[in-house]
């Protein structure tokens, strides 16, 4: 498979701040790729390196095999859906969408027809005459999407595309974006700090931490087998066990992660703790047990007895579910 985007030891330093530090990354053509990480982890800078709004201070970036180090943004066949949508307030929706064609010199009738086509694609037919200010947040986002797609980019970049939408709309847009990507067969690269969004939408993702990639893989890889403590902490709702506790539970003295679904309560065992919190989830109850310095969550399925707050209980688990990882 062709690589749509390739980073080779790419760095972007701002003075002493290493926003992106020695990143190697390959994004396959046609994939829906997520860059996940907390704010300041370098994910947005990476996106801006692809679009050309940032220049790398080291390394090489290739888009479909071509080195783009000296190519300005307006000559890169890559388009962005901005976090704040960045719609032009003085133009109506149709002119916003047709903007990319207008600056390339396409005639009015032709570009307007193309814009209408794009608006239909994002289910906004008939909204062409409105001003961005007259649209809802979700509609504005669709306009931004149509505007970015009208140029037929080879890679579509999305910067926190769903961040400003409410929960229900966000879920609907997730499905739609996924369907759209499937239909167009384009490479989508999106940045998010929401792990659920990354896991549910992407087919591959990179987890960023302090300017470096902590782990790269499929959502399942990352959720089930976090490479480092940071990834386990950030991505999952997994329990992160310090080395002493892992050893007490019968494993080697290493950091490990344990999913709450695989954690059970027992009457006796090597590790015991006090129940500190109960959260009823409908499908079960999440029980938090404090064992020494560590809090461990266990999911008790509905119908099984739930201990009272303050009770002492032992912890048991499925040995295969214990996943060992690095300390970083």
């Amino acid at each position: 498979m062709t690589a749509a985007v390739e980073f080779q030891n790419v760095s972007r330093h701002f003075g002493t701040v290493k926003a992106v530090d020695g990143v190697d990354l390959t994004i396959a053509e046609g994939s829906f790729f997520a860059m996940l990480g907390p704010s300041g982890s370098g994910k947005t800078t990476c996106l801006r390196l692809i679009s050309g709004f940032e220049k790398p201070t080291g390394g090489a970036i290739r888009i479909f095999g071509e080195d783009v180090s000296s190519v300005p943004p307006h000559l890169r066949n890559v388009n962005t859906v901005f976090q704040d949508y960045a719609l032009f307030p003085h133009m109506n929706v149709r002119d916003n969408v047709a903007y990319g064609l207008m600056v390339k010199g396409m005639g009015r009738a032709q570009r307007h027809a193309k814009a209408e086509e794009m608006l239909a694609l994002v289910k906004l037919d008939g909204y062409g005459d409105r001003k961005p200010a007259q649209l809802s947040g979700g509609q504005r986002q669709r306009v931004a999407l149509a505007r970015a797609l009208v140029n037929e980019p080879r890679v579509l970049l999305l910067d926190e595309p769903l961040g400003a939408l409410d929960l229900k709309l966000r879920e609907a847009m997730q499905d739609e974006l996924k369907a759209l990507q499937h239909k167009l067969g384009l490479t989508f690269v999106f940045v998010t700090h929401d792990q659920h969004e990354a896991l549910s939408m992407a087919d591959h993702l990179a987890v960023f931490n302090e300017g470096k990639i902590a782990q790269i893989g499929t959502p399942q890889d990352i959720y089930d087998r976090p490479a480092t403590r940071f990834v386990a902490d950030f991505v999952g709702s997994s329990n992160v066990l310090p080395p002493e506790l892992t050893r007490a539970l019968g494993g080697p003295a290493q950091w490990a992660s344990l999913r709450p679904e695989a954690t059970r309560l027992a009457t006796s065992g090597p590790v015991t703790g006090t129940v500190t919190a109960l959260r009823y989830l409908g499908s079960g109850t999440r029980v938090v047990i404090r064992a020494g310095e560590t809090e461990i969550a266990a999911l008790v399925p509905a119908g099984q007895p739930v201990p009272a707050e303050g009770a002492t209980t032992a912890i048991a688990f499925d040995p295969q579910a214990l996943h060992l990882m690095g300390a970083a």
């Binding site: 307006h74 388009n79 704040d84 032009f88 903007y99 207008m102 600056v103």
Partner: protein, 312 residues
Amino acid sequence: MSHSAVLPARSLADRLTGTFWRRPGLLLALLILPPLLWLGVVYLGSLFALLLQSFYSIDEFSGVVKEEFTLKTYAELFRAQNLDIILRTVLMAAAVTLACAVLAFPIAYFAARYAKGGWKAAFYLGVMLPLWSSYLVKVYAWKLILAKEGVLTWAAEGTGTGFLIDGLLTIPGLEGSSLSTSPFGTFLVFVYIWLPYMILPMQAALERVPTSMLEASADLGATRGQTFRTVILPLAMPGVIAGSIFTFSLTLGDYIIPQIVGNSSRFIGLAVYQLQGTAGNIPLAAAFAVVPIVIMLIYLTLAKRAGAFDAL
């Protein structure tokens, strides 16, 4: 310790706040009344009094104002010498506005997009400082700068560029013995004096244009020039118009600069000043004063029609 759900009112302020909370319109009415009185009675009232005066006429023999409704005074505006004044003033105001806009744009753009911290403070200081000193002092200073024996001529001669000034002073309409007696000098001083009024609203408008909008334009394939024409300029337009309202109307009404710098040809402001003073022709002065109002209304209508306020 009291556990009542309602706390007792401690003072008059508590009771007043309560009253305002129960009747929200009351506070608004109290707050708006003084400015409304000022705006309605003092400001607009005097403007209408002026407007009324312009519909009176003056008895040519006795010089007494006849308080009868007539359009005779307005007809007088169309006499060749008065039309001349109006035309000259409007041309000057337009030229000053255009020059201010061209000069102010890069300054405002730099301040809005690039200046941070200390540079920003320096910008505000640099723009505002000239406004804090006396207007008359600045105008007289310019008279000296532009005079035949002034620093500008001296510098031009020293660098062998004196022919530029001499050439400028032979252009029809700009003739004079030196820059300080040429209409071009008047123009320069107007531009200098009103420039801050153009920079500040422009800077405010440019500051509201998010960087992402410029990036979006480049992202979609626009060159710098295209981004400037299709995004920056339209979005800055309300600021440019706001600035031009200042420079245009201030030039239309000023009567001091043309008296001090230039060839003493009359402008609207100067005409009003002389008509209401020495000539005692209040109706014609009032009619002249209405001219800038009408011009500004026409200007704003045209600007609105051209879409200058679409970005608001």
